[in-house]
Symmetry: C2
Subunit: 241 residues, 2 copies
């Protein structure tokens, strides 16, 4: 272990914080102030210049982008025979606020984030964790560079905490839900592709989910599959499934 | 120059294509098939497996993410005192289809892209160039890694071809355009923040651009500034400004 990391872990005045971060991240952080910033919600941020606060929001912007890029590469390589629509959708599930909030909770971020409990009520604390997760990725990126961040995300986060194949499975839920429901209730179900209106991009697909001859939902997307899914989702909502 | 690059440039059967790419990119590409793929529009792609075509769309997905990450870092460092809303907006201008299409044209992509002229009419060729630009970034990333791609983008593309400060200036255009027009025509103009409907996120702002008492445009965004801008843009469209 290089001397600087050894010092940080055992002798520096910040050694307690360094240990917490090391346990969380699996590596000894370099620039501590970046990590402190990543865990500072705007509700406790101070003005550092007119109109500028030292909150984690700028790091969140950066981390969101780096995370998007790493996840894009992971999926690109994991699914060599899937098209960009599939990849885009699966990525958006992985980086969804829901998923990142759950991840932040699992990683124990609630004990690390500084925020004003008076300002934030229960309902709005939700996105704190996901936002901080993205900000942390921004901090790791600035501290250690892209390749390190990618390896950290892949080996320490994605492999251990994200079940990509399970997320993939959730994708067809609405369509299969609708089909199952129709089978159980003895109803006809079809997904009809509607010809685009004049002036609409030929890339757009409009699909109607038709149950017993009645249009129950319709979706317009850049792939037929996604349009079907959207139509199914709307039909499920309309039928109360 | 390493011998492999020397061979590629002067002796390989692909040397003509390598030279074209070197002139375009400023470096000798490694895996040529990636670059060929980046310039292959789906209209000329072949099925390589059931439902999978060898078009540039998957590379575009990857390149879009890498580009977003690089531009995020550039802006993060270039504007240390601007908030994430500013950074997000400026990035979206830089990576807009309009801007990337113009970039692709400037770089001469129209001579490199393979596409079926019979299928694509004039109007739809537009996004070919921007899509191929993103796919190219995906190819460079897979071929050379993140740091190389970042340096290529920063030194070869952004510094030479993208006027970030000019794009920054365009940001208030619609609002000031609208205000100027109203002043010139002796009309009242106000931007009114509308109380959110029940069930809408408290983070959302709805702003109406009101000209002489009449709502001419309205915008809903996560910042008041952006909502104003959207409302102004719509009002400009409605008034034909």
């Amino acid at each position: 272990m290089p001397i600087s990391r050894f010092y940080k872990l055992y002798f520096s005045p910040n050694r307690k914080y360094v240990k917490v971060l090391k346990n969380l991240l699996g590596f000894v952080p370099g620039n501590l102030s970046l990590y402190r910033l990543a865990f500072r919600h705007k509700s406790v941020a101070q003005n550092i210049r007119k109109g500028v606060k030292n909150s984690n929001e700028r790091l969140e912007f950066l981390g969101d982008a780096v995370l998007g890029s790493v996840v894009a590469e992971v999926l690109f390589k994991l699914y060599p025979y899937e098209d960009e629509g599939f990849l885009t959708e699966l990525r958006s599930k992985i980086v969804s606020r829901n998923n990142l909030n759950a991840l932040g909770k699992k990683l124990g971020f609630d004990k690390l984030i500084e925020f004003d409990t008076k300002i934030l009520n229960g309902g709005r604390q939700g996105s704190l964790l996901g936002d901080a997760f993205e900000a942390l990725i921004g901090a790791v990126y600035l501290d250690k560079g892209y390749d390190f961040t990618r390896n950290f995300l892949v080996n320490h986060i994605i492999k251990s905490h994200i079940d990509i194949h399970k997320l993939e499975q959730t994708e067809t839920n609405f369509k299969s839900k609708l089909i199952e429901w129709c089978q159980r209730h003895g109803k006809d179900i079809s997904f009809d592709v509607i010809t685009n209106l004049d002036g609409e991009s030929a890339k757009l697909f409009t699909v109607q989910a038709v149950v017993d001859g009645e249009v129950m939902g319709s979706g317009k997307e850049f792939s037929k599959k996604n349009a079907e899914k959207l139509a199914a989702e709307k039909a499920c909502a309309a039928l109360g499934i």
